[in-house]
Symmetry: C2
Subunit: 197 residues, 2 copies
């Protein structure tokens, strides 16, 4: 199995990416996208506390997950275990287990990593709308989690490096806007940036 | 107990309304508000099917419910039964029972009515951002559900009149922007529009 987080920024590419993913035994973890943006806006404008915003943003992941399932025919499910491919709706599980800090540093990247850990996976794929991690403006093939931790804001969330280390998981960040990149990734080729624990 | 649906359009008034409601044994059913607006936008722009949009919009109700709970201290819960006051997060229940058509005619008004019916209540309050139901531009004190059904678009959803008749529930639609109206309503005074089954 592969755990593949599909970023919210890829909403408009979902109809191209998902037919590629559905040929594989993947568990797709949705981002939050425009639904989480609405949460963030309310959080900013109405002095909401981060704990409420955390669960609201995870409800947003379910909304995006329903979208991904609907446009692809890949079944959506709330349960961790089940047949593949599937889109995971993580809200129920995350409310029940509540394992991560309630902070905007923890987004769907960290949640996807936690899901991978629960499943005993040692690899996580994050599909986003950029080619990978850049250091001083240059795309890097590989980076250690602790180096990433020192970079400040990147295309993955700030808590992810900690979780990759904690669970000893390697993460590939790649550009989901290109189906060729996604296909290459699924063939096992090196694309994007590999973050090592 | 009273089942009170708090419209998404009242988000900015929530901090005034909720302290009034929390003094009473109410079950608050959230609207979808800006979170459901994000779902509707994706639905329109990406030719989404109504079934997916239905559950996405209910996930949006949970997001708004978390917001209402957070700004008021009123506990949020997924379970139908429990202590009051409470904010109901209906997504889990609605996914499990799935009792209503998957259509934009069914929104949080209909869902609140269904919740009231499940609880054996014969009265539902809908707090929204207008004074009640208007017929030809004039606010009416009372209207039969089947008359309402013929009005076309009103401030409540199109499926609500059917459910009020089916479950024999009376619904008061009132303006939540005024805490005086909400207080009067909770004292049992006639405010807004009463929809009779």
């Amino acid at each position: 199995m592969r755990v593949v987080k599909l970023g919210g920024s890829l909403l408009r590419y979902a109809r191209e990416i998902l037919p590629v993913l559905r040929e594989h035994e993947v568990l797709i973890v949705p981002g939050g996208g425009v639904f989480a943006d609405a949460v963030r806006k309310v959080y900013m404008e109405h002095s909401l506390d981060e704990s409420a915003a955390h669960f609201m943003a995870i409800a947003a992941m379910d909304a995006y997950g329903e979208f991904l399932s609907s446009v692809s025919g890949i079944p959506a499910r709330q349960a961790l275990e089940g047949s593949l491919p599937a889109v995971l709706l993580p809200y129920r599980l995350m409310r029940e287990r509540d394992p991560l800090p309630h902070s905007w540093q923890v987004t769907s990247d960290s949640i996807a990593c936690y899901i991978a850990a629960l499943l005993g996976e040692k690899h996580l794929v994050i599909l986003t709308d950029v080619d990978g991690i850049c250091v001083e403006g240059t795309l890097v093939d590989e980076i250690k989690a602790d180096q990433l931790d020192k970079l400040g804001e990147t295309c993955v969330d700030a808590y992810l490096p900690k979780l990759l280390r904690r669970y000893n998981i390697t993460c590939t960040v790649a550009n989901g806007r290109s189906t060729e990149v996604v296909k290459a990734l699924l063939r096992g080729e090196a694309v994007g940036t590999k973050i090592t624990p």
